[in-house]
Amino acid sequence: MTKEDIRATVLRLLGDIAPEADLARLKTDVNFRDQLDIDSMDFLNFAVALHEALHVEIPETDYPKLATLDSCVEHVWSLLAQRAP
């Protein structure tokens, strides 16, 4: 899976949670929880959806690494890379 694939998946999942948001205007290096008004329940749903979509285990202590779109893609990429044989 490429980083672009991961980015597309993350954006799709964010769109499910914040359907009214214009994700094309999302600043990729700024906390998306603030930009999209995502609360802790939304974020939990996002983490669960990310896990289900990409089969990646994300410890709660890693949540800060998912804060921005860029950091989220990088972190998921690294988790997937660690898992690869």
């Binding site: 359907p19 008004d37 329940m41 939990l44 983490a47 896990h51 410890p59 709660e60």
Partner: protein, 389 residues
């Protein structure tokens, strides 16, 4: 026979618009079945029935706006009519339902013959089967009959939207919230208390629990707050009460209303039923479901009518303390702020601790500051032993 009436989903509700029937004449219903969808200022609500029996007749058509207490349908009960067993704390609908103009006469029901496919299609389209004359063999109502009536309905009147436009809903909800809060501040003599709670133990316990859990089973700290409030109410039950107009009635059951902000603006406070009797895991599952359904617009009528107290948490917005306005006919609201690191004195030493401000706004006609303080102290004490929640 029993009447199925437009329920009151909060003290501020006066009317609702029937959007769709999910059951049809001849259908058997159980207590708790969802039989209709109603548009209110709180959004699209699924209306449950609390009578077991057979739907005899639907008296209101989709698209009609009717007042609270209006008879929507007639149900032939399985058993003798039970007393209107509103759950303790439930806002009870008016005892004399307001009849809908032109629908007061209930003719003897005639059992219709309806194909299963037609019944399902009618439910999907919100078509009243009782108004259809079947053209199938022996007068059976077919899918084609339902489609014909649905097409005719669409040409005769404006379509019934499944939910108002978000901007309209937000505006109406803002008006409704404003009216309820103005009434509360006008009629209820509030008093306010606050305390600061050391959350070191609770947050450490939560982190350790979540470290061991798969993602979908992780807990949010808000569920610990809700459970602590629920258990504290057992110690100070008079805060878990409903004001009847002249006196408060203590509810034996604890149905915590959870304030949930909606993405289009506004908020709802549906009930987590029997919050004190649920494990934190069960409460978490139900809270997640409730939040997701509130934002998806699929709350149920009992969830809006049953709260006995409200808990609101604005900590995620960075706010450290919130003094809420009581939602009538409840008599108290509990507020929680953000968990923040602060200097804290432990055994004579100043250390850094995560702390939380908990507040209580309560009705002085029902309780006084002494009991309110006991309640907040109980919340604090319970949060020091999170594993026992």
């Amino acid at each position: 026979m029993a009447d199925f009436v437009m329920p009151i989903l909060g003290a501020d509700m006066t009317e609702g618009t029937l959007v769709a029937w999910l059951k049809q004449p001849g259908d058997h219903v159980q207590r708790g079945d969802i039989v209709a969808e109603v548009e209110t200022d709180k959004g699209l609500i699924e209306i449950e029935i609390f009578t077991a029996g057979v739907i005899e007749q639907l008296l209101v058509q989709p698209g009609e706006k009717v007042p609270v207490g209006a008879v929507l349908a007639v149900v032939r009960e399985d058993e003798p009519a039970p007393q209107p067993a509103a759950a303790p704390g439930t806002a009870v609908p008016p005892p004399q339902p307001v009849a809908v103009a032109g629908t007061t006469a209930v003719p003897a029901a005639v059992r219709q013959r309806i194909s299963p496919a037609a019944r399902k299609l009618a439910a999907d389209l919100g078509v009243d089967l009782s108004a259809i004359e079947g053209t199938g063999p022996g007068g059976v109502i077919s899918r084609e009959d339902v489609e014909r009536v649905a097409r005719a309905r669409e040409t005769k009147r404006e379509p019934v939207a499944r939910g108002a436009a978000p901007s309209d809903l937000a505006a109406r909800m803002r008006q409704t919230i404003g009216a309820a809060m103005a009434r509360s501040k006008r009629e209820i003599p509030h008093y306010y208390l606050s305390t600061t709670i050391d959350m070191h133990g609770a947050m450490a316990w939560l982190a350790e629990e979540n470290r061991k859990r798969p993602i979908a089973e992780r807990l949010l700290h808000s569920v610990l707050l809700i459970k602590s409030v629920a258990l504290a109410l057992r110690e100070v039950p008079e805060l878990n009460a409903i004001w009847s107009g002249t006196a408060a009635r203590i509810s034996e059951r604890v149905h915590i209303g959870v304030a949930i902000s909606l993405r289009q603006g506004g908020l709802v406070s549906p009930a987590l039923h029997d919050s004190d009797r649920q494990t934190v895991d069960e409460l978490m599952r139900r809270l997640r479901d409730l939040v997701n359904r509130a934002r998806a617009g699929t709350l149920r009528s009992s969830e809006l009518s049953d709260p006995t107290i409200t808990v609101t948490n604005v900590g995620e917005q960075g706010v450290e303390a919130l003094f809420g306005i009581i939602y009538p006919p409840q008599t108290a609201i509990v507020g929680f702020g953000k968990v923040v690191e602060r200097p804290w004195c432990v055994d004579g030493q100043i250390v850094s601790r995560p702390v939380l401000t908990a507040t209580l706004s309560a009705d002085h006609r029902v309780t006084d500051g002494h009991r309110g303080a006991r309640f907040l102290a109980a919340v604090d004490r319970l949060l020091q032993e999170p594993s026992r929640l």
